[in-house]
């Protein structure tokens, strides 16, 4: 684990800013949102993985630009709120905006291409996203959303595992430097 972190943690000057094919970010985000909504009707298992969250994390740490990261997170989160029908607009938006900003900021300092780093980052961002959601629901919606639970832990582990493969697949959309 320590060697993997050492491999991932490189100096800022050596971190490469990845660029993607035009329209790929929008298309991938749109597909993720549609897929999330489409799979939702097939049962609870589809909610284990938050595909829009994984997209925000991936493009955030890959592009390493906080502005585009937070804007992408805001756009995806608001769109996700719009598709949820019962969530007020902005609930996921706020959480994913913060995740996008934080992922971009972290991605600008460390190498996030390593699968272990991606697993750890996804795991951490999942709970961070959940904490923001819970806080927002408690503060604004007056609902008792949990900050942490065993069920959320399992979901975060599954999401982190899925993210390792998903991110590897999304790496194919990068432009070759």
């Amino acid at each position: 684990m320590a060697s993997m972190l050492n491999t991932g943690l490189q100096s800022e000057q050596n971190i490469e800013v990845h660029k993607f094919y035009s329209g790929s970010v929008v298309l991938v985000s749109f597909v993720a949102l549609i897929l999330q909504a489409f799979l939702h009707k097939y049962g609870r298992w589809a909610d284990v993985v938050d595909l829009p969250l994984l997209i925000v994390i991936y493009f955030g740490v890959s592009r390493r630009n906080p502005v585009t990261g937070l804007l992408l997170g805001a756009a995806i989160g608001i769109f996700q709120d719009g598709l949820s029908h019962d969530n007020p607009i902005g609930l996921y938006g706020i959480a994913k905006t913060l995740v996008g900003y934080l992922a971009s900021t972290i991605g600008a300092h460390i190498d996030t291409d390593h699968p272990v780093a991606r697993f750890v980052l996804t795991f951490a961002f999942f709970h961070f996203h959940q904490c923001i959601l819970a806080f927002t629901e408690r503060a604004l919606l007056n609902q008792s959303a949990p900050y942490f639970s065993l069920h959320l832990l399992v979901d975060s582990l599954i999401s982190a595992a899925v993210a390792v493969f998903l991110f590897a697949a999304l790496d194919r959309l990068r432009k070759s430097s």
Binding site: V67, L70, L91, G93, L98, L141
Partner: protein, 348 residues
């Protein structure tokens, strides 16, 4: 500020986006009573400012009304004070007119009751400058047929007599003057005496023997012996009486308010006034004469005579009650001879 925003543009943008979404959330979320959260926040955020503004403006209003507005209040206060003073002056004038009307009404009634007597209404225009002299000046004089030694009365009782007559004014000596004397008698017992001024507000009744029973409050009227005051005019009441040597010391409270005379009546003749209507204090009806006493003395009532106690035939003898015709006294005992200067004669 702008430089800091450009240096931390991502952070600023993050804050803006999050804030916008928070506001968006607040717009959608409804709290209790179906109130949107953003409205709830707006009210909550604006309430302290509104309360502060209300407090500020209320205190500012209090400052205005309490201090700055006092400038107008002071002016208004001065105007109101002036108005109150003017109203008080008008009120005093009205009271004075009402009192004068009342006095004139009393005088008119007196004149109507004694329509057979010749009398003249007069106003007191000044008093004597000498504190020791109990005199005053009325606005009737020689042109009004006023003559010396005419009686001056009020509807309440005897005032004094005219001592000097001028063209348009006359000087009146009050019955309280040291040089003044009025022939008088008790209304019930008809016992005669002489009212003498002492310079004090209350004259005394002299020449009443010690054996005569005198009670406080006993009414005293003129006897007519002085040839100035008609018989039966109210003089006053006994204020106090005690034995003396050789006569009682009887203090009389005048019926007329000698200290506040404004309108008086000058009797142009000495004719006896007819008894007034029952209840009127102008004159006292004579009581029926008692049976004559065996040792009745006769009063030497002449214009040249005087109330000289030394000439009293029997000063210590009891006096008798008088009948209607007191000018011919039927007292049981000798009544002191009255000097004319004491019974309304010239005071000099």
């Amino acid at each position: 500020m702008i430089g800091a925003l450009s240096r931390h543009r991502p952070l600023a943008l993050l804050a803006a986006v999050v804030l916008a979404q928070v506001l968006l959330l607040a717009y959608q979320i409804r709290r209790s009573h179906d109130v949107r959260l953003i409205r709830y926040w707006s009210v909550e955020a604006s309430t302290p400012a509104a309360q502060g503004g209300t407090w500020f403006f209320s205190h500012l209003g209090g400052l205005w009304s309490g201090y700055i507005g006092l400038r107008n209040a002071r002016t208004e206060n001065d105007q109101l004070r002036a108005e109150v003073a003017q109203l008080e002056l008008q009120n005093r004038e009205l009271e004075t007119q009402a009192n004068e009307a009342h006095r004139l009404e009393v005088l008119l009634n007196f004149r109507e009751v004694h329509s057979e007597a010749q009398m003249l209404a007069a106003q007191v225009i000044e008093a004597s400058a000498d504190p020791a002299s109990e005199t005053l000046v009325i606005n009737r004089g020689d042109e009004d047929r006023v003559k010396r030694n005419m009686a001056v009365i009020t509807p309440d009782g005897v005032v004094g007599k005219v001592v000097e007559v001028f063209h348009g004014t006359s000087q009146v000596m009050l019955m309280t003057d040291k040089n003044m004397g009025v022939g008088a008698m008790f209304a019930d017992t008809r016992t005669h005496g002489v009212i003498k001024g002492t310079g004090d507000p209350q004259p005394v009744m002299d020449y009443v023997v010690n054996d005569e029973k005198v009670a406080v409050g006993q009414t005293i009227v003129t006897s007519g012996e002085d040839k100035i005051f008609p018989k039966g005019l109210l003089v006053g009441v006994v204020a106090s009486a005690k034995d003396g040597n050789p006569f009682q010391k009887i203090v009389v409270r005048p019926a007329a308010r000698l200290d506040r005379l404004e309108d008086v009546i000058v009797l142009l003749t000495q004719e006896e006034l007819a008894p007034g209507k029952p209840g009127t204090p102008y004159t006292v009806s004579p009581v029926p004469p008692p049976p004559p006493a065996p040792a009745a003395a006769q009063i030497k009532s002449t214009t040249t005579g005087g109330a000289n106690p030394a000439k009293t035939e029997n000063p210590a003898a009891p006096q008798s009650s008088a009948g209607v015709k007191t000018e011919h006294p039927v007292g049981t005992q000798a009544t002191p001879v009255v000097k004319p200067d004491q019974l309304g004669g010239p005071a000099r």
